[in-house]
Amino acid sequence: MDSGEIPAERPVTLDITVEDVPKEAPGPASSQPSSSQESIDLGGDFISPQDDSSATRSESILDKLNDQMMESVMISDSPNNSEEEEDVAAMDSILDAEEGEYVCNKEEQAEIGQNTKEIIVSFEDQHSAEGMVAEELMKDTDRQRDDSDSKFTEADTEEAFEENTMHEPVEATLSSPKEESIPVCTIFSQGPQPKALVPDGFQPTLIKSPSFGMMSAGVSDEAVITSKLHSPLICQPSPSLSKFFSDNGHTNPASDFFDSFTTPSSFISVSNPNAELPSSPTPERQLSTSSSISTPGAVLDFGTPTSVFAPAPMDSSKTQSTAPQTPPVVANSATQPQPFNQLQAVFSGSDDPFATALSLSEVDRRHDAWLPSEEIRKVLISVATQQFSPAYVETSRLTMPGLKFDNLQGDAVKDLMVRFLGEQAAVKRQVLTANSVEQSFTGLKQLISTKNWRAAVDLTGRLLTAHGQGYGKAGQATSHTTDSLQLWFVRLALLTKLNLFQNAELEFEPFGNLDQPDLYYEYYPNVYPGRRGSMVPFSMRLLHAELPQYLAKPQEALDRLHNLRTGCLAILENLEKGLAEDGSMITLTQENRQASLKLWKSRLSRVMYSMANCLLLMKDYILAVETYQSIIQYEPRQRVQLLSAIGRIFLQIGDVKTAESYFQDVEDACQMKGSQPSDSTCMVMNRAFVYLSQNNYTEAHSSFTEVLKTDPKNPVANNNAAVCLLYLGRLKESLGQLEGLVQQNPAQYLHESVLFNLTTMYELESSRSNQKKQALLEAVAGREGDSFNTQCLKLV
């Protein structure tokens, strides 16, 4: 790769150097200032210009070249004409030298590979000679480092070339009018302006630790060399050393530092769309296949007309009347008739045209209000006013969702139990599944509240399949009801909660930007006569907007959140102007207006929270802090929490001073509204975090303990106090505290963060951490649902 790139770069350099040198060289300015710049660096990385012709690194010469270019603006009045030729000569030698250098590097690399082996052999020979071993190692790594240094030099060279290219035009224009000027009086003629135009001219400067003084000159030379480099940011085990470690019978030394943990982002469990389960096929699977072979007519029958082929609106009432018969159509092919009666129950009633007509209420309008885009609004108006068939709406504008994967069931906790505790123990693990609950919203709620979210996702899949939006149905004409969209919302929200972001995105995709005509009530004048607004719940819009941030697309999330915010603000503006939410001229009672304002303000603040969270994920701390700050005006009751959070953000950045000033604001705010126990907890907690940031773990620990005096069950303070103990070198105490908590109050402490800390300490404590982790697994199995994130147990 490198060898391919370098020749490609070279012609550019050639052009520049040739062009520049004649221009620069006649000016007497060349040599002296360049030496003045180079001498900044003590380390010997830069060689004084006199002796640099060919023997030294190509990089330093190029740097010098760069300097010369810059120095056309620097002043010197000692003309030295011979300089010019020397420079040109140097130029040629640079190119030669560079080539030579590169080849040389390659050879060196090859050599090093051999050296490595040799050293290991010698190490084994000297195994008894204790002190020597590590020294030997160091030599080895040094050699390697040298090698990597020279590689970096190459990279720097290229950089220098690029800089040349960039500055070349500027240089040319600057220097050309002054070509004939010889010794220059310094004062007014060439001000600092030209200098400022040349952006680079900076000297890489050696940095070192202040107390770094005990090293020999030779070593500091080396340090200088490295200081020039942009070191890679990831530790890579050098082959020789890892060999060394493995020879010694150790595992990878890195793992002893516990660096094999995955980051929270990789906590995402693997789910395989369409994965066949080892267990017997569930009814749901059969359902999905059965519905995929059902005729399009059956699907259309089920809902209201939606597509080009849909019957005219006049027929739609007839269609509706047949709607209750639709589930049996699907049920024909189902093996279990019982759930389908329930499914039917789910979908009946709420979609009854007469019932809906009557249920049009203030509350509906308030919650469903949304402002469609102009285009969609026109479509909706034409549907509503002219009684025009929605048939002309292109299919591409319609929403045709379907399940993208039809089975997610699985219980990671049970899998782990089978693996570590045996089948026998795993039998004891009993969690609710989609089969074991009522096939209805009630069953769904039951699964959610018992934290069996995977099963809950399965159940939403079944219910949606019954609605004709099952597996493989994406892209097929369908219709929407309030309930079907709620089911989608629950499903997608649960997938997000389970960190299955890709899956959620995949299933969100057919919904587009949630602004399609068939997602508004106006599109179904016969089903929802008189009802207006968005069928998509606001929470689903929010989820849709938030989702991309978890998929490394925070900008997209921000865009969507800003759209939501604009919508909220527009609705609030309408309300302030005395109009209805959507801007229509409906008169609202004062009471209703106030309720609406309250609702939409809370929605706005929720959107702002999401924006701030997203900005925090993006590490755009300035905007995140501003946004959190702006939420205070909407949620004055959360002032204390918000200010504390801002303080913690500053601590995360490392700005302890600013954090303290925010914590001071918190204390002031607490005093203002009179002390409540939660506020004093908050204040002490903040103080503890400040101590922590000052490396004062003793005080931090006593502050967390102080919280426990007033609030002994505070899980955060308990956990944090235990963490502080570890930093104080009191591993056993820390472990004891956390273990005690988990045993006494598993409901509170079987939390991933606590368990993660606990398992980390187990690993640090003894070689038998696995047994202790398995005990934790048993505790988890007895309490937690199938959505438990087993990664924190670090069993695999």
Partner: protein, 413 residues
Amino acid sequence: MDVNQTKQEHLLALKVMRLTKPTLFTNLPVTCEDRDLPGDLFCQLMRDDPSTIRGAETLMLGEMLTLPQNFGNIFLGETFSSYISVHNDSSQVVKDILVKADLQTSSQRLNLSASNTAVAELRPECCIDDVIHHEVKEIGTHILVCAVSYTTQYGEKLYFRKFFKFQVLKPLDVKTKFYNAESDLSSVTDEVFLEAQIQNITTSPMFMEKVSLEPSIMYNVTELNSVVNGDQGESTFGKMSYLQPMDTRQYLYCLKPKPEYAEKAGVIKGVTVIGKLDIVWKTNLGERGRLQTSQLQRMAPGYGDIRLSMEMIPDTVNLEEPFDIICKVTNCSERTMDLVLEVCNTRTIHWCGISGRQLGKLSPGASLSLPLTLLTSAQGLQSISGLRLTDTFLKRTYEYDDMAQVCVVCPSV
């Protein structure tokens, strides 16, 4: 992770964990409204989650501390902290345990253990704990060597070691650049401006707690990184003083030679030591780092043998009307000069007075004022050129062109 893979089963297990700062747990808020299908369920779940903030569950940044999840990166100037735990895995009492932790760098070997005395005995399931700290002062490979020696209950002396290798990386890229300002016309020694570009080459944001220039004894320094606004200085970098990864920030300093050095005009010549930058930064939860640059050196602008500076010159003059300027000629060489002044007209500059005038002898370091009269024959911005000084001792001529510019205007009618 298993220690006891060595041929000989050891009774003790050594575990090492780097203690970077803990992190704050972030939760993932998913909410719904009361009218939605789950009703209050989602919110209830979030309220029950101990990692959320009570009263503000949608706030992502929690208060729960979690231990470091991996070794992470360590940078020059930071403090390497590590937990060393020796655990008795066996069922017998072990005696005379000595734990030694050394850090091997490319240049030296340091002992990091807090105590070097042996622990008399360690019962089963008990630990010897030690937290070591070391400020890293070198870049490159470091190896933490932990050695444990002990005696079994049968009097057998056993010994094992473990090696932990890590790379110390460079956190900052610092580039400097000097500007020689010559604002003070009467002085030979002038102010020096130092621009320092500091780039964060780590992967995390960095709060710059302190970036200061410690001048050498010859200079006084003024930091130009804040704008005085009322009684408070406001940083030019805005309210939040942190650097995102790969961001560069430019600091500016003005250095003035101290009067006692400034008087000796000849002293500040050639290479001078300006001082060094002292940088203190903090990252996650106050993890601190500190670095200094090497001594920054600067080549004082050379003025050759004779320095000619402008003492007085009008900015605007009338076309074809004579005007006066005053030049100052300083002998910067080590010898006495005998100078002759010549003036050569250019196309637009016309000198008045005698060319070839003797200026007399000028001893080293001395200067003289030179009033001159000239006129220009073209409008616009004109460069004053054509002054020649010849040292009759060495028969050397110094040419001065483009010394200054004047704006030439047509006198109003």
